[in-house]
Amino acid sequence: MTPQAAGTALTDVAATALADATTGSAARRRQRWLRRYLLPVLGGGVILAWLLAAALAGWITPYAPNTVDVAGRLAAPSLAHWLGTDELGRDVLTRIIYGARTSLTVGFTVVLIGGGLGTLVGAVAAYARGWIEEVMMRATDLMFCFPPIILAMAIAAALGIGTRNTVIAMLVVWWPKFARLARSLVLGQRSLEYVAAARTIGFSPAHILFRQILPNALGPLVVLVTLDLGNAILVFAGLSFLGLGVVPPTPEWGSMVSEGRELVSEWWVATFPGIAILTVVIGFNFVGDGLRDWLDPHARRR
């Protein structure tokens, strides 16, 4: 090794550290900001747009999602129908916009309820320790033996088709990963001094767990929730695609792709609902990924 090489290596480190800590020109700073926050901000924008579209569906589009127009069936994208019409002459764009309601509602319901249940199980297990923890965590491990889609499929098929039943099926398979994460987070916190202090003060275990420990462990849970929203929307769309989700003619993205899967020359029927799913899931993933980088001290730059 040459002294120069060692010197370069060290200056390298020093230079990065310095550049990070302080300045760079305004232009460089902006560039760096853009690079780090472009994707999360973009993702957030996409999600916001979908939320708005879902809320304001009736004001955005002049068509109703289920109006059949046999004369105008399978019309290619045009000024009247921006994304064309499907086999029954329904406006594809309108159905996509109304479909956002179903997908977003299901996504939030599954992840918030499933995540809440899982967090509760994991947090209580970690705080209680002993046999309670054993039983709860073995039950969690057990749920991991079942691949979500197969179990959800079996349950959805058995309960009967319909949005509510599919959501129940998804909830059954959704909580375990939250239980695992919450357990490891609470385990990491419970030996810290503030917990001992809270105990000395005489706070109840429930108060310590829910008001002291959980707020401190919230970061990674929020990341998982964000990333998982996209995942839940994907799984639900997949089940719908298989015919185990919504009851027709409810507009839903997965079942719209399914309706158009044989129509290769009328590509717009299946392509656009798929793009809708893709954008909303990418949106959640970009935001979640950004949040993770931002919350994880390791991933932050030296």
């Binding site: 090794m1 090489a5 060290l10 690079r35 994707l39 691949p147 349950i155 098929a157 799913i277 390791h298």
Partner: protein, 349 residues
């Protein structure tokens, strides 16, 4: 592999494996119970689904049907029958195919294993280097491209990707063959192992082999897209973690080549989490083929699962779930053991 303590090291590994095996067996048994409870407490009635409206209105037919499939026995008797069958490899008889479930599974498994193995290799071949590169050139354009590509791969709905691939490369460009495992003009090779890619060369049918390879391209790319994204992200994160360690700074201070630092010092340590994820990802691929197989008319377990679930063929569903649970538990076991062998610290905990 090196162990922290030479003496008693093997004993420890064996004891570790044995205890894991016992837990694994208990898990599988509990898994059968759970799936049995789900299958039996839900309101869906397989008889009505199977028989159709006319027959279902005739009480005599319904009664005979229930009796034939043991559906008139109390629940626990049925579970006991199922467990007793299990001990000699009997998973019951599929209501729809009228064949033993174990035969159905044995017939459909090779196609799924073939597909998911190819997809797994694809995602490793592309995901690993991309992840390493992204970590080496952190915050450069290549890092951002890798991030965008892998997040898109994770986010794209499988069934939609399959539709687009088929529409573009089969319907429009005509570059790829259509759905199915081999073309309609090919004779399937005599069944030796059940694996198309092994049986065809064994029979000297090289045309069939090439045809089967061609049919694998689209579904394996579709299946690999999500896994590749996961592997890229995990590799990148693990590499960054490894690169922030002190021994890397030492290596740099020694003036080692950057490539040597990356490949000899950082990568082996970064591979640990990738091994864990890789195992789980492979298990997920084996079981995550439902959508892909349904669209590509792939004669595998995924399509069989879907067909059984829709008509509430409970013997089949239970059999598949059991097999899947075994695969999961087994893969997890391998991952844990290999992890313990790669990282001596695990054993000491």
């Amino acid at each position: 592999m090196r162990y922290a303590t030479a003496e008693g090291g093997h004993d420890r590994v064996l004891r570790y494996i044995a205890s894991r095996l016992v837990i694994a067996a208990a898990m599988v048994l509990l898994a059968t119970l759970i799936i049995f409870l789900i299958a039996n407490t839900v309101p869906g009635d397989p008889v009505l689904t199977q028989l159709g409206d006319v027959a279902a209105n005739n009480p005599a037919i319904v009664e005979a049907y229930r009796h034939k499939w043991g559906l008139d026995l109390p629940m626990w008797d049925r579970y006991w029958l199922f467990l007793r069958g299990l001990t000699h490899g009997d998973l019951g008889i599929s209501i729809s195919s009228q064949r033993p479930v174990i035969e159905d599974i044995a017939q459909y498994a090779p196609a799924t294993i073939e597909l998911s193995t190819v997809a797994f290799l694809l995602s490793l071949i592309f995901g690993l280097p991309l992840g390493v590169l992204a970590a080496m050139k952190r915050d450069s354009w290549i890092d951002h491209v890798a991030r965008a590509v892998s997040l898109t791969g994770v986010s794209a709905p499988t069934f939609w990707l399959a539709f687009i691939m088929l529409a573009v490369f089969y319907g429009w460009l005509g570059w790829a063959p259509g759905p199915g495992q081999i073309g309609a003009d090919q004779f399937p090779p005599p069944d030796v192992t059940g694996f198309m890619l092994i049986d065809a060369p064994l029979a000297g049918q090289w045309d069939t082999f090439r045809d089967a390879l061609g049919h694998l391209v689209l579904p394996s790319i579709v299946l690999a897209s999500a896994t590749m994204g996961l592997i890229t992200r995990t590799t990148r994160a693990a590499m960054l973690e490894a690169l922030s360690q002190d021994y890397i700074r030492v290596a740099r201070a020694k003036g080692l080549l950057r490539s040597a630092i990356m490949l000899r010092h950082a990568l082996p340590n970064a591979l640990l989490p990738v091994v864990t994820l890789g195992g789980l990802a492979y298990a997920q691929l084996l079981t995550g083929t439902v959508l892909t197989e349904t669209i590509f008319s792939w004669p595998g377990l995924g399509r069989y699962t879907f067909q059984s679930a829709v008509i509430l063929d409970f013997p089949a569903i239970m059999g598949i779930t059991l097999v899947v649970a075994i695969v999961y538990v087994f893969v997890n076991l391998i991952v844990d053991v290999s992890y313990a062998m790669l990282d001596p610290r695990v054993m000491r905990r």
